[in-house]
Subunit: 130 residues, 6 copies
């Protein structure tokens, strides 16, 4: 899905995940592959070699969209939300911009979901710039 | 919340909603205010005079974030999703970019949610450029 | 669970469902029991002979709580929402009160969920008092 | 939205939030306003000066409706659920009544959501009357 | 609903729950019945004397279906998910099979929900076979 | 992820999707690829060449798990639910078994979600065996 000539989704996913989240594939492999053979490669190929590796919209926009979605869903995805808040900062969004989008999600996922997401984001902001 | 000197949230919301969705307040008033006195003003002040009117992140980004969220939530919000797909196009996103973000949401809200959202978006694309 | 001396959940459920939704058990039986033997009796015993038949909080409060919940969940439960809006009116809530609670849910389930629920409720209001 | 002559949503929200949750605005300001300028005022105006300050249905009913909704949604809103269980007790509902509505939500949000909400509520009950 | 000649739902539920989760009714009674008179009996009759006690599909299939559902819903049901992962193992599914179904749910409930469920399941696997 | 020697996920997905849903890839390509270049191949590789093509648990179990999940999620996935009910019947589950699992989901996704899913399933049953 990377659209390139002959670059596999796995190769594209590895390149991208190593750039934005170094060590992810190894960590996934270490933790999950004994229960699910091949999981780490599939996750990398499907997620990082999938939508995130596609042309068509820039990577920075993709990161803020994911923050918006995880906030609005309001589920037990705090660990993933923190990962994507960090990725959004790394992609060039400011803490203010990330906070604004989370606030906006109060209109769609409700105030508790937005507040909880903001709390998670603040932990990331404070780790990034203590 | 509009941040300006003395501009009320209602005024800010009216200015913005008339720009991006002309006639919205009147339509809300006509339909809902007899059941909920003051609803239309409150909705305009809270939504369009609220997060959407804030500084801190640009309006274009806010629109794609809402498309992402409504897609990932996967709920019965097809009418609202179509409104925000239209608003995203009006804000300068291409049909391709909107589609990409919807596709990406398959990773968070699942494939059925993404496909259903894409179907709704395509209706908007085809109305916009038949 | 009906709390009475020897009244079974099924009997309690039948008494209540016939009062608030006459013909429900027969309709359920006619439609579902061929696929799920005993379903209609179980549904009546579990739902109408369950929480709704309990002492501890009044039936009127139970109905508005269900309207609140179905609104906030924002899912494809429009038919059930309409049934419970009707039941809330029958239990003594006004259209205004029902509308207010639905509006309040915009804070928890988001604006699209509240608007969609309000649209469903209005259909019930207009059927009840055309 | 407070409906009064000239009372702003912010003033109405401040009056109500100070009554039912003293110190809330200051706590919100202290924690969030540096990331989101004006957030605390907006939250108070929108939530406590919004639906909760409206006429049309009594405040006590609004509190039980929120408990119902947060329970049925089944999300990571335990902190907010506890706040509203406390507010429901303060508004005059008994622990039994609150428990009954939570139990009823097992029919809509499922048993795990109801049990988890009941566990959160019991913590509040036991703090309120140890 | 147990379909047997004269066996009540409560008796059927007690038999099944004592088999698969010994002590559950007593634990429920001890914790919840003071807030909700009769709750423990109702829960046992409704859940374990309800769908789980029915003929029509085997108990083993029911357990994997519940794991699938709790995973895809992605909510704060970690305690219940762990209970049903354990029950699925007890019903004859392997850790691999349970993991596979959880992985599959990434297509419907999203990757974060699947990963979080997998983490919960692994805790169960490791307690079961340390 | 197909685990075979050199069979790509796309080839595995094509083989499986053509078997269980002939013409799917062509239909996806025809409808979506103009908006999302390469989408149809990616969907086939990710979904049908992904979890559904994996060893580790049988295909029949995978289908009932998906029916369980889509039911419990209670979202606007009626088209996808019908597709997977059909696939579950094709995989060897009876209408009764599918109905039983849907009924069971009332305990997790609530009664409205289960009833709505049952209604969708009945349409499939009646098309399959009129």
């Amino acid at each position: 899905m990377s659209g390139g000539a002959g670059i596999s989704a796995l190769d594209a996913g590895r390149a991208l995940s190593e750039e934005v989240m170094p060590g992810l594939e190894a960590a996934l492999a270490d933790r999950y592959d004994r229960y699910l053979p091949g999981f780490s490669e599939w996750q990398i190929a499907t997620v990082y070699g999938g939508p995130y590796a596609r042309d068509g919209v820039d990577f920075k926009t993709r990161q803020i969209a994911t923050v918006a979605a995880l906030t609005a869903m309001g589920q037990q995805t705090r660990p993933q939300l923190k990962i994507h808040v960090k990725a959004a900062l790394d992609a060039g969004w400011s803490a203010r911009e990330v906070s604004e989008i989370i606030l906006q999600m109060s209109l769609y996922g409700g105030f508790p979901a937005a507040i909880n997401a903001l709390n998670a984001a603040i932990e990331v902001f404070e780790e990034a710039a203590p």
